[in-house]
Point group: C2
Chain length 488, copies 2
């Protein structure tokens, strides 16, 4: 058997009473394959129980669960490499799993196969405070990393909301509220260790390299950022860190129209004010926030601001922003300079998903995201709201307005197919408007299984052909996360 | 003939007395091929004269000229597509040419072939001031673009020194003094139109898309940024623009040691001060500046600073920086808040290449660049200086210290092979030290023909294998800029 799989015999076990082995017979995976997986990662790291397979068969999205046949937990790059080679040799689908917090069904095992859970790879391998970088294993989450970094005065600011694994964030090209200041994963990953489907281990910028910039060869790093597990498995990432700002103040203000809020944002950006966050909430979201977080904001299109920097410069930044907002018709400009006020405000923003769900008790989120050039935001938001209204569903809108990116968090009764269909139709329509207005069908959630058809439309036939060629180059047998990104 | 090349017959000319045709016979290119090129771009856009071929056979580096056999000037993407297909069908080497301002021999026609000059493609196709983006054709230079943008209050801040074409800057992954604030080309290109060797035209982010971020499919944009003409021909780029800061002040100060200058830089970055430029000059460069630009700076390791922002906040930023520098042993802290003083200072920095050349009259530049994590800068600079001294050559050091990137501008007598050999040996040694210290052999000049062996060492065998696979995917016949990036 080992000769067949190309794996060196290690601790071949003759387990007869192992629960995983019994369970394996229920699934499509042959015992011999399952045994080979055990030989690599150890029996404690393999499961074929329904509960574990079910848990690994879906993310936080509305997509129907598709469990893998077998789940393996990797503890090292060596594990990943050997499992990949095994799957490749036997043409078994291989789905990398980080934290399961994705929003487009990126981990659903549409063709069964092996789910490789990387959450046990959680070493923080190095932190270089003077160089503003660190290197972590695949399973480290952003909150764990930031807790670890606390004493260094540095932070990894990319914040997609969920406590996602860093390598999952790489795979999805995640971003969030801080992107207007710090960029997305694309701008904050310096290097990655990646296991290719055939088991080869590469370092996208060369082993150990961690420079802020380079012109040496093709940018493999940014080819794997956003590849959604379809080209290889990210096992380590070297990340840019940023200084924790000395001081922070926050503010919130409301407008009469979406246009006023967007115009204010454009003018603030034009002034080059190094604002840390600008978040848009429509009146439905504000209402949800008020109810859920016990606030008393005016129910109107609103902007949340966060200013960071040295205490001396903050007030001046904020005054300029207040002037700009006022000139554009803002009212109810409220400061939150004390930590408790600020925390309350941003906690409300952070809890907005729960607040939106509370608008429809018992519901679960159906979350979609699109991104357009900022000047097109008013049109795409207005038309989206019309579509939401026409469909008769609840659709609060929350946006990273500085990036032209926004979400609708539909509180959905997932057991009601009619409602799901309506919401799905609105989501597709939103993506269509975004694309019509020079935008993209996803700013930060990725394509996964949910937006495959839209990608074709967005990139065009020639672009898709090239992406397929890339896929074939890295994964000629098509084992990596099959059914994702590419339309069937 | 057209049947063979797959090109639609257009204005087939029967020129008998054309000078290009006469000249073509001198070169390796068959008349029939040259005629097919004329049929595509018109006879006014083809040349095989020695002068034009020679001019297209080298950039600004020390590498020996390798002229192409034929030079064609494209006026449209359609021209580029048809020429690429022609070259591909006939397996003729194809070298894209922007402005010829590269520093690693990226355009030298090592295998002869056709040089496709894009400098006639100079339309600024669109500017969207509220969206901070513009789309330009391949041949637009950064100075032309910034002159055009002046009235919008926006700027394209990437400044590699030379007035390079924007698409050449894309191809090299250029950066420069502003990168510490605005990033490199990697962070500032939103989309590109690219012609593949077989003539297919793709838009890396989908046609017309210009969002600040996207998670839709593979990041083709950043695969072509830095591809140095080896994967395809960049014909258009959509770029991020930035607001021109309201106010600017500059300062210069000197230190006792390189370590003090680097420590100051690290602390300034840790404070999160949004500094626009921090440039390091060693004592040799300062001396060169003093002589050439009639300044009276202390001859010691020095930092040039530029602060930008709203007038209210600038002084405070600058005071903090002064305090940090003083605590690290800085002396001679000189402000330049008036435009004329500031211009004098930064003109001196901008003219540094000429100043360095003047240290060795009649010399031409041999310029090299490496990049390391910033904490390793003192070691790599100190060891580089030792090597320069030991070799007995003049080697002024100038660095984008905030990025860990620095250059040596050797004033070289290119006619003296012994001197060139010494300098080349020092350059290779510098790259070796940089790589030993987690760095890269090139931060912004690219690999070109000069650093092919070093790339192999930097990326490792597996990484190079993957880069070669990518090259074969896009350019299976190997016609695109052959002899570059990859070691033979």
């Amino acid at each position: 058997m080992h000769g067949q799989t190309g794996i060196e015999p290690r601790t071949l076990q003759t387990q007869t009473d192992d629960c995983w082995l019994a369970a394996a017979t229920k699934s499509k995976i042959p015992d011999r394959f399952a045994q080979a997986v055990v030989d690599i990662v150890g029996s404690e790291n393999v499961s074929t129980t329904d509960a574990v397979r079910e848990q690994h068969g879906h993310d936080e999205s509305y997509h129907t669960t598709s469990p893998p046949d077998i789940v393996a937990f990797a503890e090292s790059t060596e594990h990943v490499s050997q499992v990949a080679k095994l799957c490749n040799d036997h043409e078994v689908p291989l789905i990398p799993f980080g934290s399961g917090t994705g929003l487009e069904g990126g981990i659903n095992a549409l063709k069964g196969g092996l789910c490789l859970d990387l959450s046990k790879m959680k070493k923080i391998l190095s932190v270089h405070p003077e160089d503003f970088d660190c290197t972590v294993e695949a399973g480290v989450t952003r909150v764990t990393l930031n807790n670890y970094l606390r004493d260094t005065g540095l932070t990894f600011p990319i914040d997609p909301g969920a406590d996602a694994s860093v390598c999952g964030m790489c795979a999805t090209s995640a971003s969030g509220t801080n992107a207007v200041r710090y960029g997305t994963m694309r701008e904050n990953v310096l290097n990655m260790e990646v296991v290719l489907p055939d088991g080869r281990v590469i370092h996208t910028a060369g082993k150990g390299r961690r420079t802020k910039k380079t012109s040496a060869g093709y940018n493999l790093t940014n080819l794997f950022v956003g590849s959604e597990g379809t080209l290889g498995i990210i096992t380590q990432a070297t990340l840019r860190l940023h200084g924790i700002p000395e001081a922070t103040i926050s503010a919130v203000c409301s407008f009469n129209t979406i246009q006023e809020a967007v115009d204010s944002t454009v003018q603030i950006l034009q002034m080059g004010i190094p604002i840390a966050r600008i978040e848009f909430l429509d009146e439905v979201s504000v209402d949800a926030c008020n109810r859920y977080s016990k606030l008393d904001m005016k129910v109107a299109p609103s902007l949340f601001f966060e200013f960071t920097g040295s205490p001396d410069t903050l007030d001046k930044q904020a005054e300029v922003v207040k002037d700009i907002a006022s000139m554009n018709g803002a009212s109810e400009f409220k400061w939150a300079s004390k930590p408790e006020e600020r925390n309350q405000l941003w906690k409300a923003r952070h809890d907005i998903l729960y607040a939106c769900m509370a608008l429809n008790p018992g519901s679960k989120p159906y979350s979609t995201d699109v991104c357009v050039p900022i000047s097109n935001l008013p049109e795409v938001i207005t038309r989206s709201k019309e579509a939401i209204q026409k469909a008769g569903v609840i659709g609060p809108i929350v946006g990273h307005v500085g990036d032209g990116n926004f979400h609708v968090f539909f509180p959905t009764d997932r057991s009601n197919p009619e409602e799901v269909k309506k919401i799905s139709d609105v989501s597709v329509y939103m993506a269509q408007i975004a694309m019509e207005l020079d935008g993209t069908c996803t700013g930060e959630h990725g394509i996964g299984m949910g937006k495959r058809g839209l990608l074709q439309q967005e990139i065009g036939d020639e672009g898709m052909e090239v992406m397929k060629q890339l896929k074939s180059t890295f994964d000629p047998k098509g084992i990596m996360n099959p059914g994702k990104v590419f339309p069937e």
